[in-house]
């Protein structure tokens, strides 16, 4: 793989004093500008994996390398706030006591006004600066969350089940909007979902997890056409129907 921005090497994570294996020697590399869909059912290890990449969790073994720098290994740990990795949370996690402007400006240190206007423009929410999160619809909150994550220009953006709280129509709309925004800003992204339809529509690459094991990883079209096991095949069957 050319110029990988993110590399995971034999990442292992256990819980309950080693009794529960959440991740089992996961390794993969992601190139700059690519969108990776991380697919798996509940309990497959998706959330644990992204929490380790962001530094919100530590692994038991293995390492995370970002732009050729080790972010975490058995010896090294870089704090989440120093990693320049952004994230859009499933529940949006907008600060309830801040306005839209303050939420988006939270992670920016210079030229706040210009940058907030720029990202609000990007997510089509011009004029919403003074509103509070509770004054926005679900879709608008999602867009603010995306704008906030994009504002500090992260080198990797993680989107954790961003559509799970939205209705079908809004979901379709946002799906294409987000893909367009990510491509326009050339942002490398990991898109976490249990919905194969979302994964196929948005991603360049796909990684399937089951019970902490990596089942298949590759170009989305190739994986779709050539699933390497029954589980992956069944995942796509649901979409074909």
């Amino acid at each position: 793989m050319n110029n990988p921005i993110l590399q995971l090497k034999k990442l292992t994570k256990t819980f309950s004093k080693g009794k529960v294996k959440a991740l089992n020697e996961i390794s993969f590399s992601l190139s700059k500008g690519k969108i990776l869909a991380l697919v798996g059912e509940s309990g497959s290890g998706k959330t644990t994996l992204i929490r380790i990449i962001t530094g919100l969790e530590t692994q038991n073994n293995g390492s995370v390398v970002f732009k050729n720098n080790i972010l975490s290994s058995n010896k090294i740990f870089i704090e989440p706030e120093k990693r320049n990795i952004g994230m859009v949370f499933q529940e949006y996690a907008l600060f309830p006591h801040f306005t839209v402007f303050d939420n988006i400006a939270f992670g920016i240190s210079k030229n706040k006004k210009e940058r907030v206007t720029e990202v609000l423009d990007l997510v089509a929410l011009e004029g919403f600066e003074k509103r509070f999160p509770h004054e926005l619809s679900g879709g608008q909150q999602q867009r603010v969350a995306l704008a906030r994550a994009l504002a500090p220009k992260p080198e990797l953006l993680i989107l954790d089940e961003p559509f799970s709280n939205l209705d079908v129509i809004l979901r379709q709309q946002l799906r294409s909007d987000i893909k367009e925004i990510l491509k326009k800003t050339n942002t490398t992204a990991i898109f976490v979902t249990h919905d194969i339809k979302d994964a196929l529509k948005i991603s360049d690459e796909i990684l399937v997890l089951q019970k902490g094991n990596l089942l298949q990883y590759g170009n989305t079209d190739e994986v779709f056409k050539n699933p390497n096991c029954e589980y992956v095949s069944l995942l796509f069957d649901a979409y074909k129907i």
């Binding site: 962001t54 530094g55 919100l56 530590t58 290994s73 058995n74 010896k75 090294i76 740990f77 704090e79 989440p80 706030e81 120093k82 990693r83 320049n84 990795i85 952004g86 994230m87 949370f89 499933q90 529940e91 996690a93 600060f95 309830p96 006591h97 939270f106 992670g107 906030r148 994550a149 500090p152």
Partner: protein
């Protein structure tokens, strides 16, 4: 082994060191008692074992047993009545029944001593004389002072209890009595035992009431060994026995907590429907529910008001104001320090990444279970040692004579209050911080902000009510505190609690009323305020 060491090095940060320092800071009294216990007991130990220990054991046992029974009766019956039946003033009773907590048990003890005294109100009204200055009287006093712990815990359970269970029982033909005794009471057991453990700890901590009623308990024994016999070693030995007893109760409470799962598993809650009663039963149950409030709050309050009316001209002097001001300042500073300390403790534990250190967190809440007298002894020993070492150092190396720098200062008193009441501030703040949506914190960190910045900008505004609650609770507790203050307070500083105790000890019981009323007032206002805060939230 090398791998483990590497991971410890990887995961340790400045918060791990801060957490360890706090744990050490909080453990000093227990550690000093444990270490000094190894030096053996004092000269009077044999005498105490043969002549006094059986008495301490017997009295402490009967106090714990009797108070437990009576608090269970008062607490559960009133909680069930206000939760289950339509009685007059049910809404007001929900918080009126908590008010006895605002009166320290030693003040209730003084008030009742006067109420039942020769020519007291009781004799004037009934013509009868009752001697209350004995162990049965003390059990009664402690019960009417402490039943709110059981009341609050039981009521919380009864209110959240699913109505489906009661209805299912009724459909199966069970009577109201059978439903209560066979279903509700066994289900509520974990809830009210939680409250009961707090009662037991308060009984074992009591000094003022037991001393005034002349009942020898472990806590009065610690005082006697320290002050009368002047044998710290013996005080330490008694403290160890008391500590072990308390630890047994803590283990018991933990065990019973594990059983709470079954009453939380009730799904589809429907509020308990209140039953209508005939007029006769409505007033009978109102009387049963209101009785603990009358006994625990109204009667002592009236007695104190009467005394205050008689003595206010002598007591309400400039020195009273000075003492009140000192009391308020010490309580306020202690409350702010304890809450700040609790916050640092909670967040150091959260931000520290070494998992095994997180288990030390519970040491912070141990202080509330340890009687004030034991904490005081545990602090005095190392601080005296430190002070003597400093004095010797200055004398030997610099030829300068200095006095004690730590002992006899407000600093040591506030340190003791922090240890004793850390759990009081810790619990509401920790509960709120656990409820706080963690993704908000994660979001802030991933936007490049540090732990401390995230705390001040995101968490603190949301935690404000819990921090305020913690502050108020510690403030009230420090205002009421007696045994620890008696041992550690600087000689030139006084508190209202100590002043009331001194008046009562000098047979000037009526004069104790005014400082007592002031303590009660500072206790009631925060309870009303907290009640509003909880209702709002």
């Amino acid at each position: 082994m090398k791998q483990i060491l590497l991971k410890i090095l990887r995961d340790s940060n400045k918060w791990s060191i801060i957490l360890l320092t706090i744990v050490l800071f909080v453990s000093i009294p227990i550690l000093s008692i444990a270490i000094n216990a190894l030096n053996g007991p004092g000269e009077s130990w044999d005498h105490i074992v043969h002549n006094m220990l059986p008495n301490y054991l017997k009295n402490s046992f009967w106090l714990v047993f009797g108070t437990s029974m009576l608090t269970l009766f008062f607490g559960i019956s009133s909680a069930w009545i206000v939760s289950r039946y339509q009685i007059p003033f049910a809404k007001q009773l929900q918080w009126l029944l908590i008010l006895p907590l605002a009166i320290p048990s030693y003040i209730t003890a003084y008030a009742y001593a006067g109420f039942f005294d020769y020519a007291g109100f009781f004799e004037k009204i009934t013509g009868l004389r009752v001697d209350i200055m004995n162990i049965y009287g003390l059990i009664f006093i402690l019960s009417i002072s402490l039943y709110p712990y059981v009341f609050v815990a039981s009521r919380a359970f009864f209110v959240n209890q699913s109505n489906n269970i009661i209805e299912a029982s009724k459909i199966l033909g069970a009577s109201e009595r059978k439903t209560f005794f066979k279903l509700i009471l066994p289900l509520a057991r974990p809830a009210f035992i939680g409250g009961l453990i707090l009662v037991i700890m308060e009984v074992l901590n009591d000094y003022g009431a037991a001393k005034y009623y002349g009942i020898n308990t472990f806590t009065t024994g610690v005082f006697r060994a320290w002050f009368s016999l002047e044998e710290p070693e013996t005080a330490i030995y008694l403290s160890v026995i008391l500590l072990v007893t308390i630890l047994l109760f803590i283990i018991l409470e933990k065990k019973q907590r594990k059983n709470t799962a079954y009453f939380n598993s009730v799904k589809n809650h429907t509020e308990v429907r209140k039953l209508e009663l005939s007029k006769k039963w409505r007033y009978i149950l109102l009387f049963v529910a209101i009785l603990p409030f009358l006994l625990g709050f109204i009667i002592p309050l009236l007695q104190l008001l009467f005394w205050a009316f008689l003595t206010y001209k002598d007591v309400f002097t400039t020195s009273f104001f000075t003492i009140a001001l000192q009391s308020l300042s010490i309580s306020l500073v202690s409350a702010v320090c304890t809450v700040s300390f609790a916050l640092i403790f909670i967040y150091a534990s959260k931000w520290n990444r070494l998992q095994f250190l997180k288990s030390f967190e519970k040491i912070g809440v141990l202080g509330y279970a340890i009687p004030g007298a034991v904490i005081a002894v545990g602090i005095l020993i190392p601080s005296l040692f430190l002070d003597k070492s400093i004095v010797m150092f200055f004398k030997n190396n610099l030829d300068i004579k200095i006095g004690f720098l730590i002992n006899g200062t407000v600093l040591i008193l506030i340190y003791a209050f922090i240890i004793r009441y850390l759990a009081v501030a810790y619990s509401p703040i920790e509960a709120s911080s656990l409820k706080l949506n963690n993704t908000l914190v994660d979001a802030s960190k991933l936007l490049g902000k540090s732990n401390v910045f995230t705390f001040f900008k995101i968490e603190l505004p949301i935690l404000k009510p819990a921090i305020l609650s913690g502050c108020i609770l510690v403030f009230v507790d420090v205002m009421k505190e007696l045994p620890l203050t008696l041992i550690l307070k600087p000689y030139h500083i006084n508190t209202l609690a100590v002043k009331a105790y001194e008046y009562a000890s000098d047979e000037l019981i009526a004069e104790a009323a005014l400082p007592s009323l002031f303590i009660i007032l500072t206790g009631i206002l925060p309870i009303v305020f907290l009640n509003r805060l909880i209702s709002k939230s």
